[in-house]
Protein backbone atom coordinates (compact mmCIF):
# COMPACT_ATOMS: atom_id res chain seq x y z
CA UNK A 1 0.00 0.00 0.00
CA UNK A 2 1.27 3.43 -0.80
CA UNK A 3 2.47 5.48 2.09
CA UNK A 4 0.09 8.36 1.64
CA UNK A 5 -2.86 6.02 1.39
CA UNK A 6 -1.98 4.23 4.63
CA UNK A 7 -1.53 7.63 6.27
CA UNK A 8 -5.06 8.51 5.24
CA UNK A 9 -6.35 5.21 6.57
CA UNK A 10 -4.63 5.91 9.90
CA UNK A 11 -6.32 9.30 10.04
CA UNK A 12 -9.68 7.73 9.26
CA UNK A 13 -9.26 5.20 12.06
CA UNK A 14 -9.25 8.09 14.51
CA UNK A 15 -12.57 9.40 13.19
CA UNK A 16 -14.42 6.20 12.44
CA UNK A 17 -14.79 3.26 14.81
CA UNK A 18 -14.54 -0.33 13.60
CA UNK A 19 -13.36 0.53 10.12
CA UNK A 20 -13.89 -2.37 7.72
CA UNK A 21 -11.00 -2.12 5.27
CA UNK A 22 -10.50 -4.25 2.16
CA UNK A 23 -7.44 -3.68 0.06
CA UNK A 24 -8.56 -4.36 -3.49
CA UNK A 25 -5.40 -3.31 -5.23
CA UNK A 26 -2.16 -1.42 -4.77
CA UNK A 27 -4.02 1.86 -5.22
CA UNK A 28 -7.58 0.91 -4.34
CA UNK A 29 -9.16 0.56 -0.90
CA UNK A 30 -12.72 -0.37 -0.12
CA UNK A 31 -14.33 0.82 3.11
CA UNK A 32 -17.65 -0.65 4.26
CA UNK A 33 -19.27 1.75 6.67
CA UNK A 34 -22.44 2.08 8.71
CA UNK A 35 -24.79 4.76 7.37
CA UNK A 36 -24.07 7.52 9.85
CA UNK A 37 -20.30 7.35 9.33
CA UNK A 38 -20.35 7.86 5.58
CA UNK A 39 -20.56 11.66 5.57
CA UNK A 40 -17.73 12.25 8.09
CA UNK A 41 -15.54 9.79 6.17
CA UNK A 42 -16.26 11.43 2.83
CA UNK A 43 -15.50 14.82 4.33
CA UNK A 44 -12.23 13.63 5.85
CA UNK A 45 -11.18 12.01 2.59
CA UNK A 46 -12.03 15.12 0.62
CA UNK A 47 -9.91 17.23 2.90
CA UNK A 48 -7.08 14.73 2.60
CA UNK A 49 -6.78 15.17 -1.15
CA UNK A 50 -9.27 12.61 -2.39
CA UNK A 51 -11.36 15.40 -3.77
CA UNK A 52 -12.37 14.04 -7.15
CA UNK A 53 -15.74 12.31 -7.05
CA UNK A 54 -15.57 9.75 -9.82
CA UNK A 55 -18.92 8.12 -9.38
CA UNK A 56 -21.87 7.53 -7.09
CA UNK A 57 -23.70 4.34 -7.86
CA UNK A 58 -25.78 1.64 -6.23
CA UNK A 59 -26.01 -2.15 -6.24
CA UNK A 60 -29.27 -3.95 -5.57
CA UNK A 61 -28.67 -6.88 -3.17
CA UNK A 62 -32.19 -8.19 -3.43
CA UNK A 63 -31.64 -11.36 -1.36
CA UNK A 64 -30.42 -9.30 1.58
CA UNK A 65 -33.12 -6.69 1.09
CA UNK A 66 -30.50 -3.95 0.86
CA UNK A 67 -29.19 -1.35 -1.55
CA UNK A 68 -25.46 -0.79 -1.46
CA UNK A 69 -24.45 2.80 -2.16
CA UNK A 70 -20.97 3.22 -3.61
CA UNK A 71 -18.97 6.45 -3.58
CA UNK A 72 -15.72 6.43 -5.53
CA UNK A 73 -13.18 9.07 -4.58
CA UNK A 74 -9.94 9.63 -6.42
CA UNK A 75 -6.83 11.60 -5.66
CA UNK A 76 -5.02 13.37 -8.46
CA UNK A 77 -1.92 13.63 -6.31
CA UNK A 78 -1.11 9.97 -5.79
CA UNK A 79 -3.60 8.15 -8.01
CA UNK A 80 -5.25 6.41 -5.05
CA UNK A 81 -8.90 5.39 -5.05
CA UNK A 82 -11.28 4.94 -2.15
CA UNK A 83 -14.50 2.98 -2.57
CA UNK A 84 -16.84 3.94 0.26
CA UNK A 85 -19.85 1.68 0.48
CA UNK A 86 -22.82 1.57 2.80
CA UNK A 87 -25.98 -0.51 2.86
CA UNK A 88 -29.44 0.98 3.18
CA UNK A 89 -32.82 -0.61 3.60
CA UNK A 90 -34.40 -1.72 0.34
CA UNK A 91 -38.00 -1.13 1.41
CA UNK A 92 -37.51 2.47 2.48
CA UNK A 93 -34.47 3.53 0.47
CA UNK A 94 -33.30 6.84 1.88
CA UNK A 95 -29.95 8.52 2.34
CA UNK A 96 -28.49 11.99 2.77
CA UNK A 97 -27.27 14.10 -0.10
CA UNK A 98 -23.66 15.09 -0.73
CA UNK A 99 -24.50 17.79 -3.26
CA UNK A 100 -23.06 20.48 -1.00
CA UNK A 101 -19.68 18.75 -1.21
CA UNK A 102 -19.65 17.95 -4.93
CA UNK A 103 -21.98 19.83 -7.30
CA UNK A 104 -22.14 16.91 -9.74
CA UNK A 105 -23.55 14.67 -6.99
CA UNK A 106 -26.90 16.32 -7.62
CA UNK A 107 -27.16 14.58 -10.96
CA UNK A 108 -25.80 11.25 -9.76
CA UNK A 109 -28.41 11.27 -7.00
CA UNK A 110 -31.13 12.18 -9.44
CA UNK A 111 -30.05 9.27 -11.62
CA UNK A 112 -30.08 6.88 -8.66
CA UNK A 113 -33.54 8.03 -7.71
CA UNK A 114 -34.75 7.34 -11.20
CA UNK A 115 -33.09 3.94 -11.62
CA UNK A 116 -33.30 2.56 -8.07
CA UNK A 117 -35.88 4.69 -6.33
CA UNK A 118 -33.46 5.91 -3.66
CA UNK A 119 -34.42 9.23 -2.09
CA UNK A 120 -31.75 11.69 -1.00
CA UNK A 121 -32.66 14.03 1.85
CA UNK A 122 -31.62 17.57 1.09
CA UNK A 123 -31.77 17.10 -2.65
CA UNK A 124 -35.19 18.30 -3.75
CA UNK A 125 -34.57 17.96 -7.46
CA UNK A 126 -35.78 14.43 -8.02
CA UNK A 127 -37.38 14.85 -11.41
CA UNK A 128 -36.82 12.07 -13.94
CA UNK A 129 -33.56 12.57 -15.81
CA UNK A 130 -33.45 10.07 -18.66
CA UNK A 131 -36.73 8.20 -18.88
CA UNK A 132 -39.84 9.72 -20.29
CA UNK A 133 -43.35 8.82 -19.08
CA UNK A 134 -42.04 5.88 -17.04
CA UNK A 135 -44.84 4.08 -15.24
CA UNK A 136 -43.20 1.01 -13.74
CA UNK A 137 -40.85 0.32 -10.83
CA UNK A 138 -37.34 1.79 -11.09
CA UNK A 139 -35.74 -0.19 -13.92
CA UNK A 140 -32.35 -1.10 -12.44
CA UNK A 141 -33.89 -2.96 -9.51
CA UNK A 142 -33.33 -6.67 -9.78
CA UNK A 143 -37.03 -7.54 -9.63
CA UNK A 144 -37.84 -5.42 -12.65
CA UNK A 145 -38.33 -7.64 -15.68
CA UNK A 146 -37.75 -5.78 -18.97
CA UNK A 147 -39.29 -8.61 -20.98
CA UNK A 148 -42.59 -8.48 -19.08
CA UNK A 149 -42.54 -4.71 -19.32
CA UNK A 150 -42.11 -4.64 -23.07
CA UNK A 151 -44.81 -7.30 -23.51
CA UNK A 152 -47.21 -5.20 -21.47
CA UNK A 153 -46.22 -1.92 -23.06
CA UNK A 154 -45.95 -3.09 -26.65
CA UNK A 155 -48.35 -6.03 -27.12
CA UNK A 156 -48.29 -8.08 -30.30
CA UNK A 157 -50.43 -6.32 -32.82
CA UNK A 158 -52.57 -7.87 -35.47
CA UNK A 159 -52.90 -5.93 -38.67
CA UNK A 160 -56.39 -4.62 -39.24
CA UNK A 161 -56.08 -5.15 -42.94
CA UNK A 162 -54.28 -7.77 -44.97
CA UNK A 163 -51.66 -5.43 -46.44
CA UNK A 164 -50.21 -7.94 -48.87
CA UNK A 165 -53.66 -8.67 -50.27
CA UNK A 166 -54.27 -4.92 -50.68
CA UNK A 167 -50.95 -4.44 -52.41
CA UNK A 168 -51.80 -7.16 -54.88
CA UNK A 169 -55.07 -5.39 -55.68
CA UNK A 170 -53.27 -2.08 -56.22
CA UNK A 171 -50.66 -3.73 -58.45
CA UNK A 172 -53.39 -5.35 -60.47
CA UNK A 173 -52.38 -8.96 -59.74
CA UNK A 174 -55.90 -9.82 -58.55
CA UNK A 175 -59.25 -8.17 -58.84
CA UNK A 176 -60.62 -6.59 -55.73
Amino acid sequence: MMNSMSNTVEKLKRIVNNLDITKVDEREIKLELPNEQVLPTLLALKEDGYSHLSLITAVDWIDEGKFELVYILYSWDNGGKFLITTKINRDTPKFVTVKHMWPIARYYERELHEFFGIKFEGNNDMRPLFLEMWDDMPPLRKDFDPFEYSKRKFPDREYQKDVIHEAKIIRGDIDG
Binding site: H52, S54, T57, P103, F130, L131, P146
Partner: protein, 367 residues
Protein backbone atom coordinates in the same frame (compact mmCIF):
# COMPACT_ATOMS: atom_id res chain seq x y z
CA UNK B 1 -38.02 42.11 -26.02
CA UNK B 2 -39.10 39.24 -23.83
CA UNK B 3 -37.48 35.96 -23.03
CA UNK B 4 -37.81 33.27 -25.68
CA UNK B 5 -37.66 29.52 -25.11
CA UNK B 6 -35.42 27.76 -27.56
CA UNK B 7 -34.56 24.10 -28.05
CA UNK B 8 -31.02 23.44 -29.17
CA UNK B 9 -31.00 19.86 -30.43
CA UNK B 10 -31.52 16.91 -30.43
CA UNK B 11 -31.30 17.51 -34.14
CA UNK B 12 -29.13 20.43 -35.08
CA UNK B 13 -26.01 20.78 -37.24
CA UNK B 14 -24.09 22.17 -34.27
CA UNK B 15 -25.22 19.47 -31.87
CA UNK B 16 -23.02 16.47 -31.14
CA UNK B 17 -25.17 13.40 -30.83
CA UNK B 18 -28.73 13.07 -29.68
CA UNK B 19 -28.79 15.55 -26.91
CA UNK B 20 -30.83 18.63 -26.28
CA UNK B 21 -30.33 21.89 -24.44
CA UNK B 22 -33.39 23.84 -23.41
CA UNK B 23 -32.44 27.52 -23.47
CA UNK B 24 -34.18 30.66 -22.36
CA UNK B 25 -32.89 33.39 -24.63
CA UNK B 26 -33.08 37.15 -24.44
CA UNK B 27 -31.94 38.77 -27.67
CA UNK B 28 -29.06 36.52 -28.63
CA UNK B 29 -27.84 35.92 -25.08
CA UNK B 30 -28.61 32.73 -23.20
CA UNK B 31 -30.25 33.54 -19.85
CA UNK B 32 -30.79 30.03 -18.56
CA UNK B 33 -29.89 26.62 -19.92
CA UNK B 34 -31.14 23.20 -18.94
CA UNK B 35 -29.58 19.97 -20.22
CA UNK B 36 -32.14 17.54 -21.57
CA UNK B 37 -30.73 14.02 -22.01
CA UNK B 38 -32.65 10.82 -22.60
CA UNK B 39 -33.00 10.84 -26.37
CA UNK B 40 -30.98 7.70 -26.84
CA UNK B 41 -31.13 5.98 -23.50
CA UNK B 42 -30.78 2.30 -24.37
CA UNK B 43 -30.36 0.88 -20.89
CA UNK B 44 -26.88 -0.56 -21.32
CA UNK B 45 -26.40 -1.21 -17.62
CA UNK B 46 -29.54 -3.33 -17.42
CA UNK B 47 -28.72 -5.09 -20.69
CA UNK B 48 -25.32 -6.08 -19.36
CA UNK B 49 -26.88 -7.71 -16.30
CA UNK B 50 -28.90 -9.96 -18.58
CA UNK B 51 -26.06 -11.13 -20.83
CA UNK B 52 -23.12 -13.49 -20.33
CA UNK B 53 -19.70 -12.05 -19.52
CA UNK B 54 -18.52 -12.76 -23.03
CA UNK B 55 -21.65 -11.60 -24.82
CA UNK B 56 -21.22 -8.14 -23.32
CA UNK B 57 -18.10 -7.65 -25.41
CA UNK B 58 -20.28 -7.17 -28.45
CA UNK B 59 -22.52 -4.74 -26.61
CA UNK B 60 -20.24 -2.28 -24.85
CA UNK B 61 -18.40 -0.71 -27.80
CA UNK B 62 -21.79 0.68 -28.79
CA UNK B 63 -21.82 3.00 -25.79
CA UNK B 64 -19.70 5.68 -27.39
CA UNK B 65 -18.86 5.59 -31.08
CA UNK B 66 -15.81 7.88 -31.52
CA UNK B 67 -13.69 5.80 -29.16
CA UNK B 68 -15.26 2.35 -28.67
CA UNK B 69 -12.03 0.64 -27.59
CA UNK B 70 -12.06 2.50 -24.29
CA UNK B 71 -15.14 0.54 -23.26
CA UNK B 72 -13.61 -2.78 -24.23
CA UNK B 73 -10.41 -2.04 -22.36
CA UNK B 74 -12.26 -0.90 -19.22
CA UNK B 75 -14.48 -3.96 -19.25
CA UNK B 76 -11.65 -6.40 -19.89
CA UNK B 77 -9.42 -4.81 -17.27
CA UNK B 78 -12.18 -4.89 -14.67
CA UNK B 79 -12.83 -8.59 -15.32
CA UNK B 80 -9.11 -9.27 -15.07
CA UNK B 81 -8.91 -7.33 -11.82
CA UNK B 82 -11.77 -9.25 -10.22
CA UNK B 83 -10.63 -12.64 -11.51
CA UNK B 84 -6.92 -11.86 -10.97
CA UNK B 85 -5.86 -12.79 -14.50
CA UNK B 86 -2.33 -11.97 -15.64
CA UNK B 87 -2.31 -10.64 -19.16
CA UNK B 88 0.72 -11.48 -21.35
CA UNK B 89 3.10 -8.61 -21.90
CA UNK B 90 2.71 -8.50 -25.66
CA UNK B 91 -1.06 -8.20 -25.32
CA UNK B 92 -0.67 -5.20 -23.05
CA UNK B 93 1.56 -3.42 -25.56
CA UNK B 94 -0.92 -4.18 -28.35
CA UNK B 95 -3.71 -2.81 -26.17
CA UNK B 96 -1.79 0.40 -25.76
CA UNK B 97 -1.31 0.69 -29.52
CA UNK B 98 -5.03 0.12 -30.10
CA UNK B 99 -6.07 2.61 -27.42
CA UNK B 100 -3.76 5.29 -28.76
CA UNK B 101 -4.90 4.68 -32.34
CA UNK B 102 -8.48 5.08 -31.13
CA UNK B 103 -7.42 8.24 -29.36
CA UNK B 104 -6.01 9.70 -32.56
CA UNK B 105 -9.16 8.68 -34.46
CA UNK B 106 -11.35 10.34 -31.85
CA UNK B 107 -9.27 13.52 -31.80
CA UNK B 108 -9.29 13.64 -35.59
CA UNK B 109 -13.06 13.65 -35.47
CA UNK B 110 -13.19 16.15 -32.66
CA UNK B 111 -10.70 18.97 -33.24
CA UNK B 112 -11.21 19.55 -36.97
CA UNK B 113 -14.91 19.04 -36.23
CA UNK B 114 -14.94 22.46 -34.62
CA UNK B 115 -14.88 23.73 -38.21
CA UNK B 116 -18.37 22.36 -38.69
CA UNK B 117 -19.71 24.46 -35.84
CA UNK B 118 -18.08 27.72 -36.90
CA UNK B 119 -18.42 27.45 -40.66
CA UNK B 120 -14.96 26.26 -41.66
CA UNK B 121 -16.15 23.04 -43.26
CA UNK B 122 -12.90 22.10 -44.99
CA UNK B 123 -11.31 21.12 -41.69
CA UNK B 124 -14.07 18.71 -40.72
CA UNK B 125 -13.93 17.02 -44.12
CA UNK B 126 -10.17 16.62 -43.77
CA UNK B 127 -10.59 15.20 -40.29
CA UNK B 128 -13.10 12.58 -41.34
CA UNK B 129 -11.04 11.47 -44.32
CA UNK B 130 -7.84 11.20 -42.27
CA UNK B 131 -9.65 9.32 -39.55
CA UNK B 132 -10.58 6.79 -42.20
CA UNK B 133 -6.93 5.84 -42.51
CA UNK B 134 -6.95 4.80 -38.85
CA UNK B 135 -10.13 2.85 -39.47
CA UNK B 136 -8.28 1.04 -42.28
CA UNK B 137 -5.69 -0.09 -39.74
CA UNK B 138 -8.47 -1.32 -37.47
CA UNK B 139 -10.07 -3.16 -40.35
CA UNK B 140 -6.93 -5.09 -41.15
CA UNK B 141 -6.22 -5.76 -37.48
CA UNK B 142 -9.66 -6.66 -36.16
CA UNK B 143 -11.86 -7.15 -39.21
CA UNK B 144 -14.12 -4.27 -38.25
CA UNK B 145 -13.88 -0.58 -38.83
CA UNK B 146 -15.79 1.05 -35.98
CA UNK B 147 -16.75 -1.56 -33.37
CA UNK B 148 -13.76 -3.81 -32.99
CA UNK B 149 -14.47 -6.20 -30.08
CA UNK B 150 -10.73 -6.75 -30.08
CA UNK B 151 -9.67 -6.34 -26.47
CA UNK B 152 -11.02 -9.35 -24.56
CA UNK B 153 -10.53 -10.46 -20.96
CA UNK B 154 -7.19 -12.26 -20.93
CA UNK B 155 -5.56 -10.37 -23.78
CA UNK B 156 -6.40 -9.45 -27.34
CA UNK B 157 -8.08 -11.43 -30.09
CA UNK B 158 -5.48 -11.47 -32.88
CA UNK B 159 -1.80 -10.81 -33.22
CA UNK B 160 -0.31 -7.69 -34.68
CA UNK B 161 1.47 -9.01 -37.78
CA UNK B 162 4.55 -7.30 -39.26
CA UNK B 163 2.42 -6.28 -42.24
CA UNK B 164 -0.02 -4.39 -40.01
CA UNK B 165 2.88 -2.89 -38.10
CA UNK B 166 4.15 -1.48 -41.39
CA UNK B 167 0.70 -0.12 -42.13
CA UNK B 168 0.57 1.58 -38.72
CA UNK B 169 4.06 2.99 -39.23
CA UNK B 170 3.20 4.45 -42.64
CA UNK B 171 -0.13 5.84 -41.49
CA UNK B 172 1.48 7.57 -38.53
CA UNK B 173 4.02 9.19 -40.84
CA UNK B 174 1.22 10.36 -43.07
CA UNK B 175 -0.84 11.77 -40.17
CA UNK B 176 2.17 13.54 -38.71
CA UNK B 177 2.78 15.19 -42.03
CA UNK B 178 -0.85 16.20 -42.30
CA UNK B 179 -0.88 17.75 -38.84
CA UNK B 180 1.30 20.56 -40.18
CA UNK B 181 -1.38 21.33 -42.74
CA UNK B 182 -4.03 21.32 -40.01
CA UNK B 183 -1.97 23.87 -38.14
CA UNK B 184 -2.08 26.18 -41.15
CA UNK B 185 -5.74 25.56 -41.86
CA UNK B 186 -7.14 25.83 -38.34
CA UNK B 187 -4.75 27.47 -35.93
CA UNK B 188 -3.52 30.23 -38.23
CA UNK B 189 -7.03 31.00 -39.36
CA UNK B 190 -8.61 34.28 -38.39
CA UNK B 191 -12.13 32.86 -38.19
CA UNK B 192 -10.96 30.35 -35.61
CA UNK B 193 -9.12 32.98 -33.59
CA UNK B 194 -12.12 35.30 -33.54
CA UNK B 195 -14.64 32.62 -32.71
CA UNK B 196 -12.68 30.56 -30.18
CA UNK B 197 -10.33 32.83 -28.24
CA UNK B 198 -11.75 33.91 -24.90
CA UNK B 199 -14.94 31.88 -25.47
CA UNK B 200 -16.34 29.22 -23.11
CA UNK B 201 -13.90 30.08 -20.34
CA UNK B 202 -13.42 27.69 -17.46
CA UNK B 203 -10.98 28.45 -14.67
CA UNK B 204 -8.88 26.02 -12.69
CA UNK B 205 -10.74 26.15 -9.36
CA UNK B 206 -14.14 25.64 -10.96
CA UNK B 207 -12.91 22.84 -13.18
CA UNK B 208 -11.54 20.99 -10.15
CA UNK B 209 -14.65 21.64 -8.10
CA UNK B 210 -17.01 20.44 -10.82
CA UNK B 211 -14.90 17.34 -11.42
CA UNK B 212 -14.14 18.15 -15.04
CA UNK B 213 -11.45 15.84 -16.40
CA UNK B 214 -9.52 15.48 -19.61
CA UNK B 215 -8.77 18.31 -21.99
CA UNK B 216 -11.20 20.64 -20.20
CA UNK B 217 -9.12 20.39 -17.03
CA UNK B 218 -5.72 20.42 -18.74
CA UNK B 219 -6.60 23.61 -20.60
CA UNK B 220 -6.72 25.36 -17.22
CA UNK B 221 -3.09 24.54 -16.51
CA UNK B 222 -3.48 21.35 -14.45
CA UNK B 223 -1.37 18.51 -15.87
CA UNK B 224 -3.71 15.75 -14.68
CA UNK B 225 -3.83 12.66 -16.83
CA UNK B 226 -4.79 9.20 -15.56
CA UNK B 227 -2.19 7.64 -17.81
CA UNK B 228 0.44 9.45 -15.72
CA UNK B 229 -1.15 9.65 -12.26
CA UNK B 230 -2.73 6.20 -12.02
CA UNK B 231 -0.78 4.44 -14.71
CA UNK B 232 -2.25 1.32 -16.30
CA UNK B 233 -0.88 -1.07 -18.96
CA UNK B 234 2.70 0.11 -19.64
CA UNK B 235 2.14 3.83 -19.76
CA UNK B 236 4.80 4.27 -17.09
CA UNK B 237 7.35 2.63 -19.38
CA UNK B 238 6.92 4.97 -22.33
CA UNK B 239 8.05 8.53 -22.59
CA UNK B 240 5.36 11.09 -23.34
CA UNK B 241 4.24 14.49 -22.16
CA UNK B 242 0.89 15.83 -21.07
CA UNK B 243 0.33 19.08 -22.94
CA UNK B 244 -1.31 21.84 -20.91
CA UNK B 245 -2.44 25.39 -21.45
CA UNK B 246 -3.38 28.15 -19.05
CA UNK B 247 -6.03 30.09 -20.94
CA UNK B 248 -8.91 27.70 -20.24
CA UNK B 249 -10.81 28.86 -23.31
CA UNK B 250 -12.16 27.01 -26.33
CA UNK B 251 -9.08 27.73 -28.42
CA UNK B 252 -6.74 26.25 -25.81
CA UNK B 253 -8.82 23.09 -25.62
CA UNK B 254 -8.88 22.60 -29.38
CA UNK B 255 -5.14 23.22 -29.59
CA UNK B 256 -4.45 20.72 -26.79
CA UNK B 257 -6.32 18.03 -28.68
CA UNK B 258 -4.11 18.77 -31.65
CA UNK B 259 -0.95 18.52 -29.53
CA UNK B 260 -2.13 15.28 -27.95
CA UNK B 261 -2.12 13.57 -31.35
CA UNK B 262 1.66 14.12 -31.51
CA UNK B 263 2.02 12.48 -28.10
CA UNK B 264 -0.12 9.52 -29.16
CA UNK B 265 2.02 9.05 -32.25
CA UNK B 266 5.10 9.15 -30.04
CA UNK B 267 3.63 6.50 -27.72
CA UNK B 268 2.68 4.14 -30.56
CA UNK B 269 6.16 4.37 -32.08
CA UNK B 270 7.70 3.42 -28.74
CA UNK B 271 5.22 0.56 -28.34
CA UNK B 272 6.09 -0.85 -31.76
CA UNK B 273 9.74 -0.73 -30.79
CA UNK B 274 9.46 -2.16 -27.28
CA UNK B 275 6.83 -4.81 -27.94
CA UNK B 276 8.26 -8.28 -27.22
CA UNK B 277 7.33 -11.49 -28.99
CA UNK B 278 5.09 -13.90 -27.14
CA UNK B 279 1.57 -14.92 -26.38
CA UNK B 280 -1.26 -12.48 -26.98
CA UNK B 281 -3.87 -13.95 -24.67
CA UNK B 282 -4.37 -16.46 -21.90
CA UNK B 283 -7.32 -18.83 -21.70
CA UNK B 284 -9.54 -17.53 -18.94
CA UNK B 285 -11.72 -20.59 -18.51
CA UNK B 286 -11.67 -24.30 -19.21
CA UNK B 287 -14.04 -25.34 -21.91
CA UNK B 288 -16.63 -23.01 -23.30
CA UNK B 289 -15.71 -19.35 -22.94
CA UNK B 290 -19.37 -18.38 -23.06
CA UNK B 291 -19.96 -20.24 -19.81
CA UNK B 292 -17.16 -18.34 -18.17
CA UNK B 293 -17.74 -17.41 -14.53
CA UNK B 294 -16.00 -14.52 -12.86
CA UNK B 295 -15.31 -15.09 -9.16
CA UNK B 296 -17.07 -12.98 -6.53
CA UNK B 297 -15.80 -9.46 -6.17
CA UNK B 298 -15.96 -5.91 -7.35
CA UNK B 299 -13.61 -3.45 -8.99
CA UNK B 300 -13.46 0.04 -10.33
CA UNK B 301 -11.27 0.58 -13.38
CA UNK B 302 -10.75 3.92 -15.01
CA UNK B 303 -8.96 4.97 -18.15
CA UNK B 304 -8.04 8.30 -19.69
CA UNK B 305 -10.22 8.71 -22.76
CA UNK B 306 -10.12 11.72 -25.06
CA UNK B 307 -12.98 13.18 -23.06
CA UNK B 308 -11.56 12.54 -19.61
CA UNK B 309 -11.93 9.90 -16.93
CA UNK B 310 -13.88 6.92 -18.20
CA UNK B 311 -14.67 4.24 -15.66
CA UNK B 312 -16.41 0.95 -15.06
CA UNK B 313 -17.59 -0.17 -11.64
CA UNK B 314 -18.33 -3.89 -11.83
CA UNK B 315 -19.72 -6.33 -9.31
CA UNK B 316 -19.67 -10.10 -9.76
CA UNK B 317 -21.57 -12.55 -7.60
CA UNK B 318 -19.73 -15.51 -9.08
CA UNK B 319 -22.32 -16.12 -11.74
CA UNK B 320 -22.34 -16.35 -15.51
CA UNK B 321 -23.48 -12.76 -15.88
CA UNK B 322 -22.28 -9.51 -14.31
CA UNK B 323 -24.29 -8.67 -11.21
CA UNK B 324 -23.98 -4.96 -11.74
CA UNK B 325 -22.05 -2.76 -14.13
CA UNK B 326 -22.02 1.00 -13.69
CA UNK B 327 -20.48 3.15 -16.38
CA UNK B 328 -18.93 6.49 -15.54
CA UNK B 329 -19.19 8.60 -18.65
CA UNK B 330 -16.20 10.85 -19.11
CA UNK B 331 -18.19 13.94 -20.05
CA UNK B 332 -20.79 13.65 -17.27
CA UNK B 333 -19.75 16.78 -15.29
CA UNK B 334 -19.31 19.05 -18.30
CA UNK B 335 -22.60 17.87 -19.78
CA UNK B 336 -24.84 18.45 -16.77
CA UNK B 337 -23.33 20.95 -14.36
CA UNK B 338 -21.25 22.54 -17.10
CA UNK B 339 -24.18 23.36 -19.35
CA UNK B 340 -26.35 24.56 -16.49
CA UNK B 341 -23.65 26.77 -15.02
CA UNK B 342 -21.68 27.96 -18.00
CA UNK B 343 -24.04 28.53 -20.87
CA UNK B 344 -25.93 31.40 -19.22
CA UNK B 345 -24.32 34.64 -20.36
CA UNK B 346 -22.96 33.27 -23.62
CA UNK B 347 -24.41 34.02 -27.00
CA UNK B 348 -26.43 31.47 -28.93
CA UNK B 349 -23.76 30.91 -31.55
CA UNK B 350 -21.20 30.03 -28.85
CA UNK B 351 -23.30 27.21 -27.39
CA UNK B 352 -22.07 24.58 -29.89
CA UNK B 353 -18.51 25.70 -29.20
CA UNK B 354 -18.85 24.75 -25.53
CA UNK B 355 -20.42 21.41 -26.41
CA UNK B 356 -17.84 20.66 -29.06
CA UNK B 357 -14.65 21.67 -27.28
CA UNK B 358 -15.78 20.11 -23.98
CA UNK B 359 -16.42 16.88 -25.93
CA UNK B 360 -19.96 16.36 -24.77
CA UNK B 361 -20.75 12.82 -25.86
CA UNK B 362 -24.43 12.05 -25.39
CA UNK B 363 -24.35 8.21 -25.49
CA UNK B 364 -21.85 7.85 -22.64
CA UNK B 365 -24.03 10.08 -20.46
CA UNK B 366 -27.36 8.56 -21.49
CA UNK B 367 -26.11 4.98 -21.83
Amino acid sequence: MGEVKLFFGPNHPGMHGNFSVHMYVEGDTVEKARPLPGFLHRGFEKLMERRLWYQNLALIPRICVPEPDINEACYAMAVEKIAKIDVPERAQWIRMIVLELARIASHLMSFPGIGGTIGLYTSSFWGVSDRDRILDIFESLTGARVYHMYIIPGGVRKDLTPKIQDLIFNTLNYIEERLGEYETLIFKNRIVHTRLKGIALLDKETALELGVTGVGLRATGVPYDIRKVDSYLFYDKVDFEVPTATEGDAYARVYLKYLEIYQSIKIIRQCLEKMPEGKINVPISEGNALRYRVPKGQAYVHIESTRGEYGYYMVSDGGEKPYRVAVRGASYPQTFIGIEKYLPGTRIEDVPIWLSTMDVCAPEVDR
